[in-house]
Symmetry: C2
Subunit: 514 residues, 2 copies
């Protein structure tokens, strides 16, 4: 088994065309990594006065990358290898390499340069218009930009092609092979269980007290605590680093050898940096876990945005909001803020992290309501792209859906339809978040099945059994397999929303004593 | 005057060939900046496990840069513009642009690829051999690598061409238009005044007590102090950043908008981080001072290594080791380490920074002996390249020169001929350090002439009059002019070692009461 697995992660270098393809993509990966590094730097250290300078540098490297990605020699090699790699002389790594290099080549060649340039212009103008519109609570001034973005995204879909609906082509950019018809089936039970669980919690008399998460927490000590928690979950600082940025993110500029995370400590709420560390840590251990044979190729790292999000959510929510996890890791919290947490035990701390409270703002949402925020956005953008609703009706539809799913309604568009940056550049990304929650719950169920004493081990402070299992069974293969195939390999089944339904139900029935 | 100056810093964009040339070099500068950023990151944050990954990324971007720098279209444009830009329709910026782009083009095209690759291989092997040889005090094992490096550097000189001696071709790489015959004339008085001043100090009964610089200094507080001193000298953090690295350096990855410095605090000696901050700050304010019109071109930033070093030395030594400077800036030192410096006044602190003590190690040398270290190296490498001495005789010659110039002699080659990394990759760089001291002293004399109340202003805590004058008269023009021409513009005269002779004599006669 091991030998076969290991072989699956090696490329067939006896074929000179594979070797040539690797040489071409390695250089592309190197240049992409330098662009990623420049973006990491822009978010963590770049002086304020150097924004335009960095913009020029990024534009130039994107130009070089575009030339490399549209290199006709890539197309020739891919055509020659397409059928060849299906034979048994070739490995799953070879097949993944050809699939993902073709994907990259087609994404770079299928869009006319004029469209790409127009998208960059509109995205930049749309961002500024959105920023102002949100400040002034003025959807009407943003609407024309949004309309233009919808038009351009429809053009993109037409260039890439699709079988059923235009929106499928955009979905495929973030979640290969995902479609509206699959997504609707996956999301329906999620919407139902989330809305009903929210109602059950609201109708119950039990509450969760989260006051222990508030106070005055020195931000440097929060970063030090984040570092300890990352070490606790097995993140490898020999292949990583932590910094502070306005929004937390993970940068895999040299996966698996260089995968970095950021946090953004909030002086008065410790939850922000703690959960961001574990969330970004989940993304990062996934990237750090790729087999070294895959480095400098398109098959290193995560397979899709949804699968990537499954790992951040698995670590953040299923593991990182559990009492067992905090039983094992709580010493770090107490050591960082001994006075504040002197009278708070691990169970109280863990419980506080699970308070359910519907809010209008997605990024502040708890596990029960989060997917409802996403489904509102998904349903609206799907209809926008497929031409079934008008831009002008968005605020009204947004508010109606919030009323229906979450029981609350924004009073101002700035805390409603204008809250997210995503629609300034495109559509199709939002579903990844909920897909991540579904995949994560399914993988979590598999993990618990593999380790009957899961909670006991976790509570003892050991997380390595989880990370090792995930590495061996999932992380090491990088993005060789399509999401659906990967899920079958890891969990034995295609994505199935019932795992999430059971996870959510069991977890919050227990927490709220329902 | 101002209009003319300003016009000199604008390119003639009415000529389409100038515009095309600018577009080509802007992209080269962008890519070079990303390489510089990757090196900055490698020295400040890169995880240990990512060394090879970063090496691949740097090799790839160097390949892209080589292709861009050898673009035949560059050669055509340069040929077309060479004479044209001499006319009055063109500016000094145009002429500098053509000169420096040609220099870049020729440096990239004149060396055969096989030679460049062999140099990279030998340099890498030589570095490892040097590291081991220094550890084991075993010059013989390093000698063959040094011999091969000499051979390759002679080949480089032959490809670039020279009028008088091979070594001139290597000098020119760091100090355009510098030659052995000029250098020998510049260095002779420096050698003489340094050796004689050292003897006079050693023969005097006066001493300098530097014990106040030793203690236990928290390294984070040292970095915070470095930041304060940088702000005090006018370094602009809106266009810069500070970090910690194994060896202090300045990175101008986006001059003038992004110029960063590092320090390397030594827990027990505060001098290291304090003087490194001011030294690197000198390099940095020079880069930050380039006119914005020159950004993203080869004429932004410093004109040569010697002129660059003149600014680090001017700020570090002439200004940063003066009592007047510390009268104005000492509050920052006391604020950082109140207990340690409670009983130490600014004059005592400044005096401690000027203790003269001959040592075997260049990087620990004071102002009186520093140039003697350099001149030993210069005289030896000049003769090596010009074929007048054998590799095997180097340790003996090294020791003899130390005995003659500094009055001390290494007992082991590891603290003698094996101490510097420089000779693992090439020759011609060392003279820049002493040139920097000469240029710096000459510019310092001009500054003092411009501001009769120089010391009073400085002692009041004001450094802006210095920085403003240097910006207006020197920094803003970037590398438009050759070093000799720049010195004439700034000081009214070609480089003249007598300024340094007077500076050293006056300064150390006063300090040691001679």
């Amino acid at each position: 088994m091991l030998t076969q697995e290991t072989k699956a992660l090696e490329f067939n270098r006896k074929d000179e065309r594979v070797v040539e393809l690797l040489e071409l993509v390695q250089q592309i990966e190197d240049l992409k990594a330098l662009g990623d590094l420049a973006e990491w730097d822009q978010n963590t250290l770049l002086p304020d006065g150097a924004g335009e300078t960095r913009g020029n540098q990024l534009a130039t490297i994107q130009g070089v990358l575009h030339d490399r990605r549209t290199n006709p020699r890539l197309g020739q090699l891919l055509d020659e290898l397409q059928e060849t790699v299906q034979s048994t002389d070739y490995t799953d790594a070879d097949r993944g390499l050809v699939r993902l290099t073709r994907r990259m080549f087609e994404q770079a060649t299928k869009l006319p340069r004029a469209l790409v340039e127009e998208m960059a212009r509109v995205s930049s103008g749309s961002f500024e218009a959105w920023r102002r519109a949100r400040e002034r609570n003025d959807f009407a001034s943003f609407a024309p930009w949004l309309g233009r973005t919808v038009e351009l995204q429809r053009e993109v879909a037409d260039h890439f092609g699709y079988l059923e609906t235009r929106y499928d082509a955009l979905l495929d950019l973030y979640e290969p092979a995902m479609t509206v018809s699959k997504l609707d089936k996956l999301f329906a039970p999620v919407r139902e269980v989330s809305a009903s669980m929210l109602r059950r919690i609201q109708n119950s008399s039990n509450t969760v007290d989260a006051s222990c998460l508030e106070g005055d927490f020195d931000t440097e000590k929060q970063v030090a605590l984040s570092r300890q928690l990352l070490i606790g979950m097995g993140y490898d600082f020999n292949r990583g680093a932590i910094a502070v940025s306005p929004h937390p993110f993970t940068s895999g500029a040299g996966s698996p050898y260089d995968v970095r995370v950021t946090v953004h400590p909030d002086r008065h709420h410790i939850q922000a940096s703690v959960m961001a560390a574990i969330h970004e840590g989940g993304h990062a251990v996934y990237e750090q876990g790729s087999a070294e044979t895959l480095a400098r190729t398109p098959v290193v790292g995560g397979v899709s945005m949804g699968v990537h999000e499954s790992q951040s959510r698995l670590w953040e929510n299923a593991i990182g909001r559990s009492e067992a996890f905090w039983s094992g890791q709580y010493a770090a919290v107490r050591e960082a803020f001994p006075q504040h947490f002197a009278a708070v035990d691990a169970a109280t701390f863990a419980r506080a992290l699970n308070r359910v409270q519907p809010s209008l703002i997605r990024i502040e949402a708890d596990e029960v309501t989060y997917n409802l925020h996403i489904i509102v956005r998904y349903e609206l953008e799907r209809e926008l792209i497929n031409g079934n609703i008008a831009i002008e009706s968005l605020p009204r539809l947004w508010n109606a859906k919030y009323r229906e799913y979450l029981g609350i309604e924004p009073e101002r568009d700035s805390e409603g339809v204008l809250q997210d940056i995503h629609w300034t550049s495109g559509f199709g990304y939002f579903p990844s978040y909920t897909l991540g929650n579904l995949y994560g719950a399914q993988i979590y169920a598999t993990l618990r099945q593999q380790f009957p004493d899961f909670d006991q081990q976790l509570a003892s402070g050991d997380t390595s059994f989880i990370l090792n299992w995930l590495r061996d069974n999932m992380y090491s293969v990088g993005s060789i397999y399509l999401p659906d195939d990967l899920m079958k390999r890891v969990t034995g089944a295609s994505p199935d929303p019932q795992f999430f339904v059971r996870y959510l139900t069991n977890k919050f029935e227990a927490i709220y004593g329902l």
